[in-house]
């Protein structure tokens, strides 16, 4: 029997998580092999590479990669490692280049990855074959609607199969755009959090924490004329009813009726009187294109979607794409972007960005308190060996639909994570 990190007693309605998962170096090493090397991991969005030759260098699943659009317009992902002696072949974070040049001995690669030139190649024997020395690539690289993912596992199922029902929710986000095209906006938020990466998964979808962690945000909304009413229905934490939805393969989302304004397309006083008409027009376009029911789904519901293991798309006050990666057991690096419809007007774009900053990001009115909460958890967990279990049973007795303010969706993550960690790799 493989070791289990959870106590999952359905009969008693008890779910406990072994806190060792957040503090153990051994667990982290295993996660690299069993999670990050076995899943589809988000690399970037096609809109970040507008022209042939555009490139971005990133670390994805700990691997330095070059995310680029080659001269033929194909999106590529190469390991950023020279085939000769292993140096990074591109040290810039972003740019446009036909070729990547290794500064160490001058090997040159095309942006399609092919090795084009080796200085002094007459010194090699006939066994030296440039065709076999293209930049290596991750085993798999595929996209769903321009969200590009890589996998280090050659045996992994195709991306769309892996994503399963998450595509329904990705589609719902993309439906904000009349042309069905969303783009990553300029300006990247990159920051570290002194906490285990899995705590960010929990936090990104945990609606139980909103009233306590984000009291000052609720106060700011009230000061801005947006009264967030306390829940009317017994058992609710949030003003409107929302659900936690299991999407299979360890993916899940919250899905709740909006109560805080949406750039597409629910006006609140914070946006100003002058925005009222344009937001009504955006809503009318949705209705015309998608029909009343779907338009209301796009415009008046929020979702925080987790694509296992480390991609979050939050579609609430604005749309944010966020990924994070461990840098040791007690630290993660977070990268977050804003996403918007390509054809958005200048005013609507400015409103979307402003709405983003009311809540999200390192200078937002909510995210810094999330960061603080996660760091408090990590510091508290220093007692893990004598205070071993996190209590995560909230809502376990509930039949049927599950609330976003319970811990059902967190358990979905942990069960899947626990299964993967139990597998041989």
């Amino acid at each position: 029997m493989p070791r289990s990190y959870v106590v999952d007693d359905q009969e008693k309605g008890v779910f406990l998580l072994d806190r060792e998962v957040h503090v153990s170096e051994e667990v982290l090493r295993e996660e690299m092999r069993k999670i990050f090397a076995k899943c589809w991991i988000y690399v970037g969005h096609g809109s970040e590479l507008k022209k042939p030759g555009d490139f971005l260098t990133r670390r994805v699943a700990g691997r330095p990669v070059i995310f680029t659009r080659d001269q033929k317009g194909e999106v590529q992902c190469h390991f950023n490692t020279c085939r000769h002696r292993g140096a990074l072949v591109c040290a810039d974070r972003a740019g446009n280049a036909r070729r990547f040049f290794c500064v160490y001995h001058g090997w040159i690669y095309g942006n399609d990855g092919k090795l084009q030139r080796v200085p002094g190649d007459e010194a090699y024997t006939a066994a030296f074959d440039k065709d076999t020395l293209a930049l290596k690539k991750p085993a798999k690289f595929e996209n769903y609607r321009d969200f590009w993912f890589m996998s280090l596992d050659p045996e992994i199922v195709p991306l769309t199969e892996y994503l399963g029902r998450t595509t329904e929710y990705i589609d719902l986000v993309i439906d904000q755009s009349p042309s069905g095209k969303m783009e990553i906006l300029p300006g990247t938020q990159e920051y570290d959090v002194g906490a285990n990466w899995k705590l960010m998964v929990e936090n990104s979808v945990d609606d139980y924490h909103l009233p306590s962690t984000h009291a000052t945000w609720l106060n700011f909304m009230a000061n801005s004329g947006v009264k967030v009413e306390p829940p009317k229905e017994k058992g609710l934490v949030l003003p409107t009813k929302g659900y936690a939805v299991d999407l299979g393969n360890g993916h899940f989302t919250t899905d709740n009726v909006n109560f805080r304004g949406r750039p597409v397309a629910a006006w609140i006083s914070l946006y100003g009187e002058e925005a009222k008409q344009e937001i009504a027009d955006i809503k009318a376009e949705l209705v015309e294109r998608l029909g009343e029911e779907r338009a209301n789904r796009v415009a008046h519901t929020n979702r925080n979607l987790v694509i296992f293991p480390n991609l979050v798309i939050n579609d609430g006050s604005s749309v944010t794409v966020r990924t994070f990666y461990p840098e040791g057991v007690g630290k993660m690096h977070v990268t977050a972007w804003a996403l918007g419809p390509v054809e958005e007007s200048e005013n609507a774009r400015a409103r979307r960005l402003d709405a983003f900053l009311t809540f999200y990001g390192p200078g937002g009115f909510a995210t810094p308190d999330d960061v603080e909460a996660l760091e408090l958890v990590q510091q508290g967990l220093a007692n893990w060996s004598d205070d071993r279990w996190s209590e995560m049973s909230r809502g376990m007795g509930r039949e049927g639909e599950q609330l976003n303010s319970d811990e059902h969706h967190l358990r979905i993550f942990w069960r899947h994570w626990n299964d993967m960690m139990g597998a041989e790799a």
């Binding site: 990247t188 920051y191 570290d192 774009r349 400015a350 960005l353």
Partner: protein, 166 residues
């Protein structure tokens, strides 16, 4: 902007003002700090990878108008602002002050800064960068019409959040 008109504003005057401002921020006298702002003041921190960008088309770290600044201060002084409770202790060094130009009663000023921030468990962060101010003449002193903070690091990284006023 013309440089010849700077005789009405001296660097020493501007330095006095900036040092006073830095002291108010270090001492958490944020209500008093707000009295240094014009009614249309803005406070901007562009993203590390797009320092020249506009907040209307790029995702900033902070892009506050006057009302948002007021709300930011209400928030950061609230004990429920967990990111700043307990409060950071900060120490700023402001230097390399340069008057870049003057137009009517507005002087454009650049300055370098280091802001050391200490938090629980003696963790320390160092925000390093430069300021660009638009200062409006106000009697013997100035008011801030815009404060723009350029953080020089390639990314926020270990600085984490910007929950203090830089």
């Amino acid at each position: 902007m013309t440089l010849h008109a700077t005789q009405t504003v001296t660097r020493a005057e501007v330095e006095d003002f900036l040092f006073h401002e830095a002291a108010l921020l270090d001492e958490w006298k944020l209500d008093e700090w707000q009295t240094l702002l014009t009614d249309d003041a803005t406070y901007m921190i562009p993203p590390n990878d797009d320092l020249d960008g506009s907040h209307r088309s790029s995702l900033f770290i902070i892009a506050d108008d006057r009302e948002r600044i007021r709300q930011r201060i209400i928030r950061v002084l609230d004990p429920n602002c967990h990111a700043e409770h307990p409060k950071s202790r900060t120490q700023r060094i402001v230097g390399n002050v340069r008057l870049l130009g003057q137009e009517d009663d507005i002087t454009t000023v650049a300055a370098n800064f280091i802001c050391y921030r200490y938090r629980r468990y003696e963790r320390v962060g160092q925000y390093v960068g430069n300021y660009r101010y638009l200062l409006k003449r106000n009697g013997a002193s100035f008011l801030i019409r815009e404060k723009r903070v350029f953080i020089q690091a390639h990314e926020l990284g270990q600085l984490g959040s910007v929950s203090i006023i830089l």
